[in-house]
Assembly symmetry: C2
Homo-oligomer: 435 residues x 2
């Protein structure tokens, strides 16, 4: 048995099979640097998918911040410590003025779960509006508001308090078949759902949304949709929760946060993944009045959340983003990559849509015969062939036919060229029809 | 305004008020070493309460393991990496043979939430049996099974699928007033609840339990209660989830895990807190057949869970526990401390009960006039006076009248003597009546 097969076999015994491995031919990674990962044989891979390693794998300033604080103190938030307060202030300074109260947690899931709890309690209701294809995390309460999971494999459908808006997807959304106006169709859906909830004598608790859906297939929600749906939700007294776990911290290039694209005012935002460059850290941020209302006598204690090490790491990541001007890089390289992907779209029939913003892009593959049919097998094959060319990507979306590009923000033009050339070659190798 | 008051004021602006501060006179901690914490003025505190810092604050081997791996690679579980597999094997080797499949997560809450999901899906049911006063974590689903929260301040009571067993507390349990036999009374409650669930045409999903209740007030569940209730639950098809988050990893001295005290066979166990000595790490471990059943097509992805850094830290903690024989120390120092506390119980009327195991002890304070009335104010005062003598403790239990002792396992006899002498002095200062 090969070394790799032995490891896979042993993994199969001790690690849950629900933890999947990427690629038909899994990779045994042992080292990371910047936008590169290295396997045990020393092969170098261009990492175009790990948005968690936001400022680059093993960034020395982040590693050093963790080590310095690990040596000094790592304890819980029941003692005073300045770094958590300074860090909270620094995060808050980058947000609209009224988003200033922080709850520190250990994962995007913990932050989204807490956001739900805050909204449930605020409105004494569970009634929730969510977007088709959305994923917000792995806890029980989050599976319940994640159509990606409850309508996906192994899911058991929507609970009665969960109301799903069809994906406002300009390319393949259900407005097309119905021949209705794009944004209006989905805005009306939101208004209709709210009316339904109210007609049943219930109150809307919350609307949770990613401004660009990650697992949903890198679908950017139209500005007017977000604007109008926030307006309707707020009129009904619901809280608007913006999940920035995948897209926050400058990844979009044009904006530091996703919600800024449509200039809406979230009641709660949640940050995770990139916030600690891989260190388990996340935060839920809300208004003072909402945080005060939540403080009804029930303590919120989080064993690890907001410990001095996590805060030192979070601060270092924030510093590096600024010092290295990574948001500008995301804008420049992202725009360049986007244009290159558009050129490939003009060449190959199979590329139905190129979308996203900055270094959070999606390439939707569709059947050459019918643009409304997802080319899922082809997307999987392309990603596996790219992996064989040492470029790491993945697929997602309800049909797994959207190739996701979300590299560490140190990704450069040369990396973009290599990705584009390789993708062109892969599509050729697959004998994909040229227009 | 004093420096401390300035920090508290700034904290009040940026950190949620639901995050509480310990002590009437909060401490500004800046350094940790072994069983000691140091404030910004250089004052040294004996830490008798932070069970998360299991092998001692800032243990150099744990710090070094984190730094070494942070420099090398920190990525997710979709790639092969040996350290997660080896670590899972090493954890599994310390458990009953059939508990071998690991799900890595970032907090006890994530692990308990996942344990619930596994049990819900296994039995296609939410019906849950829980112990009065129990706390299992902060997610929505865990608040629902934590009477400590849903029956505590700000709570909204039990949901219809949650069934609460009165606390099997030998000292003050409700069997006393009813003049019924201790263990049998609570075992019958379990059987009665199961029958009720079945009579309603429902299936029992799970029984979740800490062998020694932490937040519940350091109450050790009687062996025969656990034995018989596990038997009844398993006969009804329910899964037995043992929450070892607070007590696992040798803290009890006599046993490495809490469930070993009563020789029961958990279907799922959850580990957290101490597992990473403060690093956000946790794990849910179950049988292969249960893990396979859970693997129904829905992937479980955890952005940070099981990353190489977390696993290196977890392995280092495991190594230190063995190398420094900390379980034996917990047994020896714990037994010594327990005897010393019993001596104080014999001296002071206010000490109603001394309980727990190893370095996980509780001292219940009761009114001198009536042993069934909790001396909550006195417990709070004692803990604040101990803090002024530079010893860190806390109170818990439904009435907050149980003083909790759960120090880093490097706590020594001299520390125990200092704690005992100081506690004696504090009770004298409070002019507590001597027997």
């Amino acid at each position: 048995m090969s070394e790799l097969k032995k490891i896979i076999k042993k993994r199969g015994k001790y690690i849950s099979p629900s933890f999947s491995l990427a690629y038909d031919n899994p990779i045994h990674i042992v080292k990371g640097r910047g936008q590169y990962l290295y396997d045990y044989k020393g092969n170098k891979y261009l990492d175009a998918v790990n948005n968690i390693s936001h400022v680059g794998h093993c960034h020395p300033k982040v590693v050093e911040a963790a080590n310095k604080q690990n040596k000094l103190l790592n304890t819980n938030t029941r003692y005073l410590h300045e770094s958590i307060i300074d860090y909270a202030q620094n995060i808050s300074a980058m947000l609209p003025e009224n988003l200033e109260v922080c709850f520190f947690t250990n994962s995007g899931s913990e932050s989204n779960d807490l956001a739900l709890r805050i909204a449930h309690q605020y409105n004494d209701s569970f009634e929730s509006i969510v977007i088709e294809g959305a994923y917000h995390g792995h806890t029980q309460a989050l599976i319940d508001v994640s159509p990606y999971k409850f309508n996906g494999k192994g899911g058991t459908g929507a609970k009665d308090f969960v109301h799903v808006i069809p994906m406002p997807d300009k390319f393949k959304g259900e407005h097309i078949n119905k021949n209705l106006k794009f944004e209006k169709y989905y805005i009306d859906k939101v208004k209709h759902l709210i009316a339904n909830i109210q007609n049943r004598g219930k109150k809307l608790a919350l609307f949770i949304v990613e401004p660009i859906l990650g697992c949903g297939g890198q679908v950017t929600l139209p500005n007017i949709f977000l604007k109008e749906s926030f307006k309707a939700v707020k009129e009904a007294g619901g809280l608007c929760i913006v999940d920035e776990v995948q897209i926050g911290f400058g990844r979009l290039g044009s904006h530091f946060w996703g919600f800024e694209m449509s200039n809406v005012e979230p009641d709660i935002i949640t940050l995770g993944k990139s916030i600690g460059n891989g260190h388990p850290l996340s935060v839920t941020i809300t208004r003072k009045d909402i945080a005060d209302f939540f403080n009804n006598g029930m303590e919120y204690f989080n064993s690890f959340g907001g410990n001095p090490v996590s805060c030192a790491v979070g601060q270092a990541v924030l510093d590096v983003i600024k010092d290295e001007d990574l948001q500008s890089n995301a804008f420049e390289v992202g725009s360049y990559l986007f244009q290159g992907l558009l050129n490939l779209k003009n060449k190959y029939e199979i590329i139905g849509d190129v979308r996203g913003r900055g270094l959070f892009l999606g390439v939707e593959l569709i059947k050459e015969s019918n643009h409304m049919i997802s080319a899922s097998k082809e997307a999987k094959k392309a990603v596996n062939l790219m992996r064989d060319k040492n470029i790491l990507l993945s697929t997602d979306g309800p049909d797994n036919n959207v190739i996701k590009i979300k590299p560490p923000l140190v990704f450069n033009r040369k990396n973009a060229d290599y990705l584009l050339d390789s993708f062109d070659n892969v599509l050729s190798e697959m004998t994909i029809k040229v227009k």
